[in-house]
């Protein structure tokens, strides 16, 4: 198969006006991916599917990823002159990366027997109605998986023929696979609570009776 750079430049030649970035993958798996712009996504997908040399006719896996807002703190040592004296001061700068939702597609070719090429699309923010174009018209296999992403992550796929909740019931309003989803507090006795369960458990324990003086402690209290 062609190298990813070559695929990228061929797409750029075929679909005018596209913006594609290569997302590097530092791990040993070495599966870098193409970040494609949302506007041209259907055209790019069409090209990937129909180009005779590539023929990515099989879209194996479609999934969502939730990237939270991040604040990265950087501490740098800077030389500054304060009151005429040269001093080394540490300065902390905070950089804020807004979060986004991502849809990832793994493409293979059944005719050419090669792959995978990974393409990803990003929403501008994590709002509830975040939109991405649907690739279901290109690959039917995305139909149920995009519905799943809509259900669990809340990405609206524009152009999807039948976008409804699939795994949860229709009345459900949350998107449970998001990283900041909180379950309804459904406390139940646990014999050995720990970590965050312990924290939640504490709210449900009756307050310990305040004992003052040893005379109050009876045999049952010692258990």
């Amino acid at each position: 198969m062609e190298a990813l750079e070559q695929v990228k430049s061929r797409i750029e030649a075929a679909v005018p006006g596209v913006k594609i970035d290569i997302v590097q993958n530092p791990g040993p798996a070495n599966q870098p991916s193409l970040l494609i712009d949302n506007e041209h996504a259907p055209a790019i997908a069409q090209f990937l599917r129909d180009d005779p040399a590539l023929r990515f006719d099989f879209c194996s896996n479609v999934t969502g990823v939730d990237w939270l807002d991040r604040t990265v703190k950087k501490t740098v040592k800077v030389k500054k002159s304060i009151d005429g004296e040269e001093k080394e001061v540490t300065e902390t700068t905070e950089e804020h990366f807004p979060g986004y939702l991502e849809a990832v597609y793994h493409l293979y070719s059944m005719t050419q027997k090669h792959g995978p090429v990974v393409i990803r699309m990003r929403t501008p923010n994590r709002a509830d109605g975040a939109r991405l174009p649907s690739l279901t018209p290109i690959w039917r296999s995305a139909e149920l998986q995009e519905r799943e992403i809509f259900d669990l992550y809340g990405i609206r796929f524009e152009g999807h023929p039948d976008l409804r909740r699939i795994l949860m019931w229709d009345e459900f309003v949350d998107h449970p696979m998001r990283k900041d989803y909180r379950e309804p507090d459904d406390y139940e006795y646990e014999p050995t609570p720990h970590d965050d369960v312990l924290e939640r458990t504490k709210q449900h324990y009756p307050a310990r009776p305040q004992l003052d003086g040893a005379e109050e402690i009876t045999a049952t209290d010692l258990h």
Binding site: L167, M168, Y181, E188, H204
Partner: protein, 206 residues
Amino acid sequence: MSDIDEGLRKELQRQGVWVTSMQELYNWGRKNSIWPLQFGLACCAIEMIATAASRYDIARFGGEVFRPSPRQADLMIVAGTVTKKMAPQIVRLYNQMPDPKYVISMGACAISGGPFKQGYNVLKGIDRYIPVDVYIPGCPPRPEALLHAFMELQRKIDSQRLTGANKAEHLDPAEPSEFPVPSFGEHDLEPPANREVFQPPKIERS
């Protein structure tokens, strides 16, 4: 559970007279022809099928007639994970079964949510909505364990009384035989548990 004097019965039997009571006969018939409802929810259901299949053969205990209709079933084997999406259907099926009816909660999932307890779509035990007669722990319980539960249930049926103050629940008109079906809420099932049936264990701290 017989009210007849065992010595007398033995003596009579030696003479060729067989004595029994209505209750014994009735319970004997019931316990040896338990018809389970045919449905499975998850991995435990496969073990339930294995129990019914060639090697373990639940027919030896009279329970091989799996009925696809709740109207014809006596026993509900809740085999597998009850998801919140599934729970209303289970309660509905239970309500449709005629009395007397029994429930075996098979596997860790049906008891408490089991390995999937933290899941947002997993009901933390079917006993939140319907009363359960026999619990079988395990993930999955072996077919032998299901057979054991089946025998426990037979023992229970055998000990039920038809008359008197502590007669069987299904003969008491005051006891409910149907339970409210939960509805789908915005975040969870409404209500999350039926407080009439289910009380979380009290925490005893001293």
